[in-house]
Subunit: 432 residues, 4 copies
Amino acid sequence: MSASEQNSSGGTGDAVATVLAGQDDIRDWLHDLYRSVHEHPELSNQEVRTAERAARELKDFGYEVTEKIGTTGVVGVLANGDGPTVLMRADMDALPVKEDTGLDYASTVTAQDADGATVPVAHACGHDVHVACLLAAARLLAEAKDAWSGTFVALFQPAEEDATGAREMVDDKLADIIPKPDVAFAQHVLAFPSGKVSPHAGPFLSSADSMRITVHGRGAHGSMPQLSVDPVVMASAIVMRLQTIVAREVAPNDFAVVTIGRISGGSKSNIIADSAVLELNIRTFDTGVSEHVIDAVKRIATAEAQASGAPRTPDFELYDHYPLTDNDADTTARLTDAFTAHFGDDVDDNGRQSASEDFSDIPTALGVPYSYWGIGGVDPDTYTEAEKRGTVNSDIPANHSPQFAPVIEPTLSTGTATIVVAALAWFAGSGS
Amino acid sequence: MSASEQNSSGGTGDAVATVLAGQDDIRDWLHDLYRSVHEHPELSNQEVRTAERAARELKDFGYEVTEKIGTTGVVGVLANGDGPTVLMRADMDALPVKEDTGLDYASTVTAQDADGATVPVAHACGHDVHVACLLAAARLLAEAKDAWSGTFVALFQPAEEDATGAREMVDDKLADIIPKPDVAFAQHVLAFPSGKVSPHAGPFLSSADSMRITVHGRGAHGSMPQLSVDPVVMASAIVMRLQTIVAREVAPNDFAVVTIGRISGGSKSNIIADSAVLELNIRTFDTGVSEHVIDAVKRIATAEAQASGAPRTPDFELYDHYPLTDNDADTTARLTDAFTAHFGDDVDDNGRQSASEDFSDIPTALGVPYSYWGIGGVDPDTYTEAEKRGTVNSDIPANHSPQFAPVIEPTLSTGTATIVVAALAWFAGSGS
Amino acid sequence: MSASEQNSSGGTGDAVATVLAGQDDIRDWLHDLYRSVHEHPELSNQEVRTAERAARELKDFGYEVTEKIGTTGVVGVLANGDGPTVLMRADMDALPVKEDTGLDYASTVTAQDADGATVPVAHACGHDVHVACLLAAARLLAEAKDAWSGTFVALFQPAEEDATGAREMVDDKLADIIPKPDVAFAQHVLAFPSGKVSPHAGPFLSSADSMRITVHGRGAHGSMPQLSVDPVVMASAIVMRLQTIVAREVAPNDFAVVTIGRISGGSKSNIIADSAVLELNIRTFDTGVSEHVIDAVKRIATAEAQASGAPRTPDFELYDHYPLTDNDADTTARLTDAFTAHFGDDVDDNGRQSASEDFSDIPTALGVPYSYWGIGGVDPDTYTEAEKRGTVNSDIPANHSPQFAPVIEPTLSTGTATIVVAALAWFAGSGS
Amino acid sequence: MSASEQNSSGGTGDAVATVLAGQDDIRDWLHDLYRSVHEHPELSNQEVRTAERAARELKDFGYEVTEKIGTTGVVGVLANGDGPTVLMRADMDALPVKEDTGLDYASTVTAQDADGATVPVAHACGHDVHVACLLAAARLLAEAKDAWSGTFVALFQPAEEDATGAREMVDDKLADIIPKPDVAFAQHVLAFPSGKVSPHAGPFLSSADSMRITVHGRGAHGSMPQLSVDPVVMASAIVMRLQTIVAREVAPNDFAVVTIGRISGGSKSNIIADSAVLELNIRTFDTGVSEHVIDAVKRIATAEAQASGAPRTPDFELYDHYPLTDNDADTTARLTDAFTAHFGDDVDDNGRQSASEDFSDIPTALGVPYSYWGIGGVDPDTYTEAEKRGTVNSDIPANHSPQFAPVIEPTLSTGTATIVVAALAWFAGSGS
């Protein structure tokens, strides 16, 4: 049996077993770490506490750590002999959502958002899982250096929710700070059963754009609508009309989402304001569709302003552009083989997801192939019962819901193991 | 010629002429006072500076002053011999509006509203005019006590914009503080030509109710609308459907206004929130219509929640009830005669107004007849030109508009004279 | 006692009593006549049977009759000595409505409308009452010629529902056919208690305009919305947006109705058509309001077409213009006195009505003062009970409803008496 | 070289070449036939002329013909020795669409639809192409019987547009009339370039359901909206709200179409009707999605009726159910090979189509595998230019558009050749 044969089969499995053997010993630490991060969520580019914890832990594990890349970005590099360089990224930021999970470690945190408003903050998107699992995997790899050879890069990114964090780290000379990776990975906890792992080749996460529409009316006393151009009616008419884009203008075979995440107009019941704001999120898997949708949004909002007799056309501002996450085919095939060897039937390609990510800005800037996978976060029993009732979609809170609450286990153990398995699929035996 | 004949004709005119003769001397003081109040607007129940100024001035004029009635209410009583007691009320509070008048004395003030949010504040409703004119009239009457006989009560009320201030003063034992008036008056500056005065018998200002509707959806990530019940769409559908109440359900001969002054849902483009809020203002001149409209609002919002598949029905909260302002016929006739004798052709009944007021809570509680009139605030030249172009409604900012800006003169002189003329219509010669 | 005193008091009353004494004798005939007309409704300009019946009866009564004025118009002239000429008009046409009254004399008639479509026809507007009452009054006056002196003109008009019949009769030289009247009258049965009479001075019935909007989309197979511009969605969006005109653009004190009486688009569930049609009815009591509303309708429909990305702007066609019915003050005062003398407390000014009428085209063309009044048609007991329950509006079918069903008595007797009383208020004693 | 090798390669090619050699000779006949069918379109179950022409031609070609299967269905059977039985189906019916193609052979035909209304009729869906091509292929196969062996069944189906024709033929004992086929085919002309052929394995055409919603309001005169429950507003609100099903309730990865093909309410601008009708078409590729959409439509319409205060809930009627067209994998693979051998690069799998078909009811009832393919109908030059401009969707009229006009060639030659090639892929050499 040659060395190379060993590496690609039993050898990887041995290394995985060796590294993951440490999971039992670190479980209490991992759970405490997770609960602490969950309980102290931080808004985008405010991830100071989380970044400090990540940096401190990485240093303790023996990583060479660089902090404050972009705003609060952290990378830890563990050079462990010859072999490939594998980058794993976790995003750190939380959301302006009021947690409503009933967990004893639920967030009660508030913070000032970019506009200076005080808002509740919660890890309603599961980035706390990503942070905890990456630190756990980084620790396990550091504690079993004999089992593998190569360089592991643990990257903690700020501001994924603003679509700016990955780009900020790239712009702050990430390429000069870390060795060039051979491959880059990221993962996301999603609303399927905990314990399940979902790799997917090709387009996996949609591109996304946010658009702010400010409509201009004319203010008046609430009792004199005839003197006003009512911006609340204008904004509402736009919302209703925007539904027709996905329903009537996009081919039913094409993927498109137009979400109006925020509407805001007026301050008081008896004053007609002179403007209102809509914030939209537009997601597609195709550039042509994306362009059509954005044009249609502008066409509709402009026309609705005319219908209202508005004094001027709305303002349109595009922001938070997320690139398409398009998993490399060869990388994903190798990854899927490694996952299947370890997780068996728990590997299940759930297909492309409608979420978006800025992760790919990092490998794209570095010229590195990448793959991004999903892990389940829902209590399998809960899921099975909801599935029996046919109420998965209505009973199980999804990411960004105030009730989103990944079950701690097997989520954290699975999310740790995926990283170890993925890294070892490139590392294992390479040094022997 | 008998005394009574004197009183009812030349006598009143003489007294008016005598009292108003002082206007020239106080004009600079009045303008400074007005600009100062305008530049320092205060939100409802926060009228500390305005109230202190009113109290200080009244004391200087020789009034017996009581402060902090309700929250910041002030009354000054000038007992000047036998004769009737006349109460004149001015409201003091400003609005959470960002002033956009370009005036050199424009407000740049912000304050914390009842929810703790920092908001801009401006006298966009003209209460600064009411305060200044009442202080000026109080001064003129005090400086010409020989010309009349009776008791003048100058009342400065907080929180008219919340519909609570009049009631607060009544509840804080106003009846024990002042002598029972024979008549009560109030006035409002409106968007017709400055110099004009508009008395009106019978229903003059509408009743009003505010209603807060909170709709409940289900939050989700912006990319997964199928997991959500979208509260922004629900709220917008309600807004569009509410238009049908006035358009289709209220008889075209009946008066009804349904303004949605505020809509607010979601915090971020890519998060679907789990609730949204609408704040409505409902105005009518008829209790039956009012009840029908409120029921229809509830029916529509409830049904739209069902159309969305909402997890529960909306919450409805009624607040800021304003009574109907129904001017006493005899009082208004006597008032109109006095106005006509003084202002001639500038007296013009512009009919009932769609605005609302809590003033009448005071005379109603005291068991006193009342009349409430309007004065113009728009530069007559501007008005005439807008009228020629047929653009009065679109060119001239109305009350509550960020551009609402009464022209200082003849607005202040007219608004002072109306009070003097009204008071003397009851006082004049009564002591002789 | 002078003759003129006689005329204006007991004289008129005597004449009324004399003429109306015949009512008992003709009641069976009147009821049969009414049921026959009700059972055989005819669409506008198709009133052949009704006109023939009217002409035949008038000839039998001794009137000089001219037929087929305009299309089916009929006038009967009864010259009865010196004195004023009084014109009374009844409209004859029915509506394309499927009667749903459950009456044993309900219509089961269908007819071809102007577009060639077969439609149900019913007297859902009560013109059968007008025809029957005018024939009854004409008969009573003919049978009691000694009681009065003057000329009575009974005019039966076609096509009121199309707003064309009055104009057609005028254009067909009505002025040459009849002596110039001194006064012209018309009446309408309305949804208030039978037995009541409602005269009203000044503007009584609104002006009205109909507008046909044809929106242009792009047809496609129902499965390929992305290739279409969907005219059904476009038309529906226009309907919803048009609600904002009355709700937000017209001052709440002003009267305006915008009814979309007809919407029609597409022929089959799985074909997206390339156009749709809306037919609107716009009613106001003010030319400025009318112009604003018509402009707003065009603005909104044009903008909604742009929102849809329509290949071209909608087509707008105005038709069926109804003039304002503005009752002459002196005429109405004299009429009201006469009604009050006869009907006592049953005379009740219900104020202006939102309906419209082309009747005034006749007196306007002839240069004659006019007054138009309402009579009740609802069973008084039913009305009283509905009033107690507060369900008048929901329980009692109004004009144009498929359930509209005037109670035969006292409706027909009252509607006959109003004509006799009105005519005698001009005629009575004038010949003595 | 063995016989079997011949059959599967050059042998089929030879047979195809031999049969298609006749195309030049029949081209004038084919074009005349096509123009005649196009010019004389017939509504569903009224295809008398078309069926008679098909039957006559088939008899002339030597087929054994059965007529009037179901309503107007025709089958011709050509038994030509041993070998497989191949069924090819063409649908015959046209649509109630007013043709607007400008062709010199455009339809000017009208007919009475099922409701007795007179409607224009046109071959806006291209069934004339299907009829002409099947007759041409039937002729070519009959004229070259030496080139193949087996049984060819040419089936002409009525009422595809009503989703009833296939079922009617099955129910009228089709299985007893024809030999059991080994395979069944059908084709459709679509809006891609003429000359192209598009086979597709698996789900190809969506399932479809039609639903008629009748909403109930309360009629009134157009001037008295307050007495009505306006069915036009109710129907329009439903249309706008239904847009949210595809836009918000169906997962963006799932396919769903909700088309409201017909809206109809009211007959006249100034009458508020008491009901309105919507006719919907619902298409999906998944039963769960279909059920969710149908439930959501009912939920929304019911709630909108409540929002209107409707006297009763809407009526829902499901009709015109189309099954999923799910092409057999093996059959389609064999077919695609044969197409590729003959058409080369012109074979292009355009993926699943959003249209629906009842064709599969026939093979499903007979227990036969089937495949259904598309052929292009658009002038390739026009298409290329539109593609360059990026205006394919807006410039090129799709099926069911009044402007839908397949270019005669190469459409008819291609559509004939596809049938011959498909049939010979089963027949060729089988008899040798």
